[in-house]
Subunit: 403 residues, 2 copies
């Protein structure tokens, strides 16, 4: 007898010797650049196109039509964790982004340097976007002077006015008030105001922030820190628990390593260039049946509004692609975590081109791998969270549902 | 004030004199057979193709991308019952599969003959896959010798080592422990172990199985029965309650008749050949506004890995098709309950080609009816559970939602 009828993919997962590689081209999707086409359409990518001609293709919405994902939700979707159900706290995301090794029970928050006037009211919530260097200098001072009992506190620079604070102690929870009032002309809020007055972590945070105010009081601009999104590591099923796979990550940037670590993936290498990424991916396939390989450049160039740079990044990856297609996994997934159209200079909501090479495809096969060709592919328009079930199915790793 | 906001299709259902026929070509979907195309692409099907040229076409996922359905979930989806929400217990499916007329309150379980060693530990969970004939012989012996008080017990042969047990008594529930430990080297579990110790059915099952052990003790291989999935008939809304239709089934095989019966459909005929199926379907349309017509062969041939046989089965159905297209219902749905690619020799996750002929289509009309053409059809990629609402809509049987 089962307790309920809730469907769980993990109950269908089967172990076999087939290998799955998921190659994530960050920010892959694009818009049409005033009629010139998308980055993938402009780029000369004979190897990706050859793959499309024998693969299942389609488009994947990271979350839902119209919704633009951050990097965290974008990747959770790719890993089959519904980004709406599995939300990562802002503080935890900040920790992942700076490679801070968060431990279970740590309470993390995203901090902003801000400017207070003589009455203690906020005049600039970003302290005039101070330099990263200045940020480092000030956190150095804070680290030296702030004292805590019953807990350790860590500060890490992100960039400009952004920083991470982590409180480590015994049996803390994340019931701490955000001190950022979200508007200027108001004083920072108290971390331990009601209903947080009985939370140990809130008391510690309030005490730390009072000391910070003292340390920074003579600074002309960055004379206070305000906090948002206190959070702890979530207690989610690991990737291994979800799929009975033995996963590993090839990821050159902290945020993506961090999300992988969050799901219990080992780090195999921090390769950054297409050649290194694909060489390491092939090596990683020896002892792992799932490799997550991350390529950052298309997103970076897209965010810079640099369509030429984005096209070049995709062409570089295409040039390196034989490194893996000549040593292919059983199932190769190529897609992105979201679109970053160069014309927008930012993440966007557009669904992302998707390609699944492996046994069991049936067409229509498309001549090219790009946003426009993918509309006619056999996968149609799906959600990113459906990619993992498809990859598992093509690898013969999912048993039948019901008799 | 309403208690909740849950949408119910039945509240929109309207009765009129329009007829709907759903022709299920079991296991219809295929993969591309090393470049030769899918079974539908290879087959010469001028009548199906002519239909596609005037119908709404598309593809339907029986459950969700990547998920392979059994026959039960596959058909429930076609009938508009979400297979994840409406799960049939294994014991009930076994009863449906052997045409056992399960009554409300009966407790059914799927049984396996197994082999125990001298210490009572399982050495083979399938008793060396004994023949169906041997299975019949042993169940005959068991039927004669096993005695029960307070309940009746029925045993039915499925095939090889598989059998059905049904306990019929007063106010029984299915709180009975599975005795199959799911691995060899262990003894069968007790049906009435905690937390099942207060269940009447569990006590009866335990007693029956002790007697079975005695009856079979001198058998060299099949010297015990183990059980899985004790279940009772579910209490679901009938097809009539869901759609205000007066449904009937033309189905030659027990499993499909059983699922139809589960939803309160009458059986009109057990026709098996395309010609008989379609003749009976036309007859059934006289007094019924919904006919479920089931054709088994494409699935059978697909499971045999026999692409030629699958192609032949589809061509036979195509040849017979004028029997219905010359006496057409108002809405004719042609699809499958799932894909059974001959190349896999098994059910698969691939979405199934779907065709809806009737008033209110608009194209793009496709030249052929197959998996690849269907990608460009007007229905796009839907879930099987959405087919019934579409069929109802085309038949003018669904009123407006909201004002």
């Amino acid at each position: 007898m089962k307790d309920n009828n809730k469907f769980s993919l993990s109950s269908l997962a089967e172990v076999n010797d087939k290998k799955i590689v998921m190659l994530v081209l960050d920010g892959l999707g694009d818009t049409n650049n005033n009629g010139r086409g998308t980055a993938l359409q402009i780029a000369d990518t004979p190897n990706l196109d050859a793959l499309a001609q024998q693969s299942a293709t389609g488009l994947a919405h990271p979350i839902a039509p119209g919704i633009t994902p951050g990097s965290g939700p974008g990747h959770l979707g790719l890993f089959g964790y519904d980004p709406i159900e599995y939300q990562i706290g802002r503080g935890v995301l900040s920790a992942l982004g700076v490679d801070f090794s968060l431990k279970k029970g740590d309470v993390a928050a995203r901090m902003n340097f801000c400017t207070l006037d003589s009455q203690g009211k906020i005049t600039d919530r970003r302290a005039g976007r101070i330099s990263t260097e200045k940020n480092r200098e000030l956190l150095g001072k804070i680290r030296k002077e702030v004292k805590t009992e019953k807990a350790e506190v860590f500060f890490e620079t992100e960039s400009e006015h952004r920083a991470l604070m982590v409180i480590r102690g015994h049996e803390l929870n994340a019931e701490v008030g955000d001190t950022d009032p979200q508007q200027t002309g108001k004083a920072p809020l108290e971390a331990n105001r009601p209903p947080f007055e009985n939370s140990t972590a809130a008391g510690i945070a309030a005490n730390i922030l009072e000391q910070v105010r003292e340390v920074l009081k003579d600074e002309p601009r960055a004379n206070m820190l305000i906090s948002r999104g206190f959070a702890q590591l979530p207690d989610w099923p690991s990737f291994h628990e979800s799929y009975r796979l033995n996963p590993v990550a090839v990821a050159g940037y902290p945020m993506y390593r961090g999300i992988a670590r969050l799901l219990g993936m080992e780090l195999f290498s921090d390769a950054k260039t297409p050649e290194d990424i694909l060489k390491d991916t092939v090596k990683a396939m020896k002892d792992h049946d799932f490799v997550f390989a991350h390529f950052k450049d298309p997103d970076k160039k897209g965010e810079d509004g640099d369509i030429v740079g984005k096209v070049n990044a995709l062409e570089e990856m295409d040039k390196a692609l034989p490194l893996i297609t000549e040593n292919p996994p059983d199932v190769l997934v190529i897609t992105g975590d979201h679109s970053t159209p160069a014309a927008l200079g930012n993440h966007s909501w557009h669904p992302v081109p998707l390609l699944i090479m492996g046994p069991g495809t049936r067409g229509p096969y498309r001549m090219k791998f790009d946003e426009v060709s993918a509309v006619g592919g056999e996968l149609g328009m799906i959600r990113s969270k459906e990619i993992m079930p498809l990859a598992m199915a093509h690898a013969g790793k999912l048993s039948k549902f019901g008799a």
